[in-house]
Symmetry: C2
Subunit: 411 residues, 2 copies
């Protein structure tokens, strides 16, 4: 298997507010053609450190991808230092210069003199056209290594990599295709899932299985390698099927879909409509559902009844019931779900009431206590939850549980 290193260049990437996202995208693309990323470096506009980084990477790995530092200013040092690390000259390429000039001309501007720096090309490099910016990229074969110099902005880097670099790497990597599939699970912990499915997935080296925890969901990543994509898909089908046998409906997505997409699709396919009544989640469920394009087909109305008064007035919840059980109770959750369904005249109504914290908790009703309910024209049911985490996580987990309650009803 070929190995690669990625070098992200630019002092701004060494501040606490910027993170290098290019390398995640590049890693996925490289993995997809069977190339493993072994090291990533983030280095500032520092000649000596960058030169050493490039030399080390070329020594260790067959593929080296650099991003950033191809701009026109003094601190864009990638061209110069990469040339130095390869002991090659940097030459002005008249054709590239002319192309950059033309780009500026087409925008009705004259090329600033400093941009001529971007026409400096490493001896022997192939120049990679950049339709989305002024900085061209470069591809160099150097002592059996494949070296790519790509611009930093993702919208320039990505098409350049896919158009020019990827085909060359595919040719080098040979007949290996890697396909990944993400299964998402709700309502089960990481170790409970592992206990159930380890007997299955440990029997396979291909596909490989990774279990990742992500807020309130567990993701099962399956990665298969084969000579063709369809062969890899077949391998994935086999293992995914066995995992499904063990986890059943706890798997809510087989292709990485979100919970709101899955619920939305089931509502749309069934021709059902939905209304939502929220207290502690404060609009999060409505917001998640309506983030999905086309959700207006099934999502009719949402209410965020934070005050008791709003619960009584907008959802027809009985004030006596609130006095008797408190706003955070199974009774009120059910009354809210029924109320919003009747008010909006929808097939389903879901509701949440709870204590997201940090304040408002008591010994009897602590922070994290949440009731969710689901109502249709036949009956209304609720669940009592004790959710761990901070305000943000409790809200998110409550929204997930409420959507999941509906999903299971729709199966």
């Amino acid at each position: 298997m070929l190995t690669a290193e990625i070098i992200a260049i630019g002092s701004e990437l060494l501040t606490s507010e910027r993170t290098d996202t290019n390398s995640l995208w590049l890693t996925e693309k490289l993995n997809g053609i069977g190339i493993e990323v072994k090291l990533k470096t983030i280095v500032g506009d520092d000649d000596a450190r960058l030169e050493e980084t490039i030399r080390d990477a070329m020594k260790r790995s067959r593929v080296v991808i650099m991003t950033g530092g191809l701009g026109p200013t003094e601190d864009d040092i990638t061209r110069k230092i990469a040339a130095r690390a390869m002991n090659r000259r940097l030459l002005l390429n008249e054709k590239v210069l002319e192309a950059i000039r033309r780009k500026f001309f087409d925008m009705g501007r004259q090329m600033p003199e400093i941009n001529s720096r971007q026409a400096m090309v490493i001896e022997g490099a192939e120049v990679l056209d950049n339709p989305h910016g002024s900085a061209p990229g470069m591809y160099i074969e150097y002592e059996g290594r494949s070296i790519g110099l790509l611009p930093g902005p993702p919208r320039e880097m990505r098409p350049m990599f896919e158009t020019f670099v990827l085909p060359k790497l595919i040719a080098k990597a040979g007949d290996v295709r890697v396909v990944r599939r993400v299964l998402r699970v709700v309502g089960m912990g990481e170790s409970a899932i592992d206990e159930k499915i380890a007997p299955v997935y440990t029997q396979y080296k291909n596909p490989q299985t990774t279990i990742l925890f992500n807020r309130s969901e567990v993701e099962i990543h399956l990665t298969a390698q084969a000579k063709t994509e369809s062969e890899a898909e077949l391998l994935l089908d086999g293992l995914a099927g066995q995992i499904e046998e063990r986890l059943g409906h706890s798997i809510f997505a087989f292709r990485g879909e979100t919970m709101e997409e899955v619920v939305g699709l089931r509502l749309a396919v069934g021709g059902f409509t939905l209304a939502v009544a929220e207290s502690c989640t404060g609009g999060l469920i409505s917001q998640r559902l309506t983030e999905v394009p086309g959700s207006s087909v099934y999502f009719m109305e949402g209410v965020v009844t934070y005050s008791n008064d709003a619960k009584i007035r907008s959802l027809g919840v009985d004030s006596e019931l609130i006095l008797k059980h408190g706003a955070v109770s199974a009774e009120i959750a059910e009354a809210m779900a029924e109320g919003v369904r009747q008010r909006a005249k929808t097939d389903f109504g879901i509701s949440v009431t709870g204590i997201a914290g940090p304040g408002g908790g008591t010994e009897v009703k602590p922070v994290g206590l949440v009731f969710i309910a689901l109502s249709d024209d036949a009956h209304t049911e609720h669940r009592k939850l004790m959710l761990p985490g901070d305000r943000h996580l409790i809200r998110w987990r409550a929204s997930q549980a409420a959507l999941d309650l509906l999903r299971r009803r729709l199966i």
Copy 2:
């Protein structure tokens, strides 16, 4: 100025779904005491590459912080390789072993034999206690370098760094304090802001100014260096005051607060209450407002009226008005804001109606057309917006504009 390098260790950090967040946090802490981060490396569980990485880092930088790879399993190689890179021995520390045993005992379990690996300590290292996990950290002075080995999980790494490593580095860094302040601006583009404030901030080397674009907000980061924190704060006050003179109320936060925090605080201080009516933002405004702890004091009710029927029934919007102007119109936005305010009996009502896309646009009312409105007992006003971006961004920008309309009224 001291320079530092950060090494994140673990093969999972080289996949496309995991990103190293520890280094951002560490960078902020190191910058805060005047230490500059010059290079970051992410390396897998690979003996040779890790050893070379550690050696190079120690050669170049006075401070080297490693995170991860301190677990009990075979692929946790940091202890072993760091010792090798420093040509020091790795010795079993009985006291540490006993402490790990006790931790398991306190949880009612016996220590698995593999965890004894975590009691191996580099010769001459100070052992750093880990109250949040089983892996102790290490701090080593090596040829004038400060080397830290910290666990990967942020909740273990952060307190350990702050308790044990930071004080030592402060002593080394000397009398330098770096304080950062984040100003956040709404409703102005990056270049428009730069044009207005460049004449001011370019006069200062200290504080340093960086302008960052972040969804629909522009952030102005000011970083001041001085011998004490209060001196640095004074420098920041000076420049921030001059920037405020130029940008006025477009600055909505002077200490990095979110828009919903700023609006919430003004509502709370004024003793005002609020209700929200949303169409295309689908609950996002309510969700943002209620993400703030204590928001139940001023946030009374939200409605997500996606269907026309819901607008008519729940907000008392005149059906004739919808027929005449369409649901996405200034008239309907104002009627929604008035309707929700009267229904919830609050001081203010805000509303949004628009076309978030990708479908639903027409030539007359394209995707991105959004109306926002604000109503109080004296009058109702609206704004018409043409927002760029995809569905997600249009929704976010619309929510931001609506909150900003209220903020300006509250000034």
